[in-house]
């Protein structure tokens, strides 16, 4: 269960490329793990390391201090591709807590929100400004639903209301779903009654 996440202030790391898919975030050959932790070392592995395993000194992800760059700014359609939840696990373990983009893939969004990793979608002009000013200090305020930076007017962003509440309050979604067990059992009874009903003449 993720820690509550309300307000996040950090420098940004900018990766302008569009369509950063989950195979880039965590290559498939690292998916043989049976844990959720320790994947930060493998985050963006093929961007950061040569075929022989040596680090690429020019790779920005090898140069920054992750503790000072909690917010990733990335190109359109971030997190597309495979449904692997290893992608937000890897991003979180590396040190990121949020991504800001102009669009973010559905399954990635769903996975991220369950792991205390905030997907933030902003308009093109805001995104371009974020890209033009890398390393700036940005505040992502989930409670207020806005992105703030420098002297700019706050920019609103939306998060699915239930997921937002879960992140703010640290609600356990599986526990919440389990509270619906009487409804689920009632649904199953109607289904089995229908299945046993005689065929209409």
């Amino acid at each position: 269960m993720p820690e509550p996440l309300k307000v996040l202030t950090s420098r940004t790391l900018v990766l302008t490329q569009a369509n950063i898919d989950t195979d880039q975030i965590i290559p498939a050959r690292f998916l043989t793990t049976t844990e959720t932790t320790g994947l930060g070392q493998k985050a963006f592995y093929d961007w950061r390391y040569e075929a022989d395993g040596s680090a690429r000194p020019e790779a920005v992800l090898n140069r920054i201090d992750p503790a000072e760059h909690r917010i990733l700014v990335a190109g359109d359609n971030f997190g597309c591709g495979s449904s692997r939840e290893h992608a937000p696990w890897a991003l979180y373990d590396y040190g990121f807590r949020a991504v800001i983009s102009t669009s973010i893939a559905d399954i990635f969004t769903s996975n991220a929100l369950k792991n205390g990793f905030l997907p933030v979608v902003v308009d093109q002009a805001t995104w371009e400004d974020l890209v033009a000013n890398p390393e700036q200090v940005v505040t992502v305020d989930l409670e207020a639903g806005e992105v703030r930076r420098g002297n700019h007017a706050p920019v609103a962003f939306a998060v699915e209301p239930f997921a937002r509440q879960c992140l703010l309050d640290g609600v356990d979604t599986l526990g919440w779903l389990q509270k619906h067990m009487p409804d689920i059992e009632a649904y199953e009874r109607t289904q089995s009654e229908q299945a046993l009903a005689p065929e209409p003449a």
Partner: protein
Amino acid sequence: MSRPRTLFDKVWDAHVVTRETPETPGVLYIDLHLVHEVTSPQAFTEIEARGLKVRRPDKTFATLDHSTPTLPAIDGQLPYVTAEAKSQVTRLEENCGRHGIDLAGWGSPDRGVVHVMGPELGLTQPGMTVVCGDSHTATHGAFGALAFGIGTSEVGHVLATQCLLQRKSKAMRVTVTGALTPGVSGKDMALAVIAELGFGGGTGFVIEYAGEAVRSLDMEGRMTLCNMSIEAGARAGMIAPDAVAIDWLRGRKHVPQGEAYEARAAEWLTLVTDPGAVFDAEIVIDGAAIRPMATWGTTPDAGSPIGSRVPEPKSDSDRKALAYMGFEAGETTTTQAVDVVFIGSCTNGRLPDLRAAAEVLRGRKVKPGVRMLVVPGSEAVRRDAEAEGLHHVFTEAGAEWRIPGCSMCIAMNGDFVAPGQLAVSTSNRNFEGRQGKGARTILASPATAAASAIAGVLTDPRVYLSETAHA
């Protein structure tokens, strides 16, 4: 009279346990949960840590496909790529044993790539909700099921409750009109649709595929089309069940048998979009204009008819993609030597896919220097293909005939394309490094892959198909 509903509406409505509100998502009941070794171990760990059991093992089916070797055992030892891959498989075997889940594991005649196996066994049925921790779960929508990929947290939710918290997606209809021309397959249609929609064009939507050209596809072609919905960003793709679907499923292991089947089939045939139902978005594509397609970039929407020129890059991302692929704008992609050809995957690892490839290859040879791998999608596909002698066609041409699995599509089992090598692949993703670090992938149909193996360059299969027809 009630409001006209889409196919998606009908399947959705039938599975709502509690309705969504502005504050909370709805609870959606899941009829079939498919499980594989890669995206499930952490979910089992999570529910066990909470002292929970798998609530409906009877609605849960597992297979081994992603981390499994496609070469046979040596001295009784399967050649796993790493000890960790082996232990991941062992973990699923243990989890299934402990929770009473049917596993099509090693030695099972049912084992296969999860999205090949489910329909084959009749686990997938029209009108069902189907989920799996795998984005290509959309495949099952070919039968009029609402099928979509989920993350591992949600795998845990379904294991524990048989339900998911969901908000309803928007609906899009993609109508492909007219008749496909000879040599054009469901894969070409999928690549044409994705090129039209764009890589993220389906984000937030469930797609219903309709139209004469879609109806003309066999079930395997429809599965290929639905399978790649996620490559346009759509979590699910659906096709209304018709006589083709009913005939395909009849007699399969998990469907009702005899008269009970015919009664069920009559219900399934009502799963159609009502006249007048409204979609949030509609696009129409001329099926007669689709040609054999291939990708030139590193996203699945970067596709065009084979032989057309690579378009001018419009962004830095496009330029990066062309630099990675080693292609130049304004040139064709049909002159670079191909190193690897892969036929298989949940997209194109079914019997008609192998037949299409074999038809091109029969009596011909894979060009020296090209490595060709043919990996059937399941044990059943392997049995059927071998009964027809297709494996001889492949091996006599110089290709490798492997054990079923995901193999080179996701390249996590030791089957991979080496750095810098160019592959023509029947799989679903041409992302950087998808088929191995530094691998360059061209996505195409099985017939195109086979033709490219013979010529040693990306080749329109109609060249060989017309030769065969005139021979």
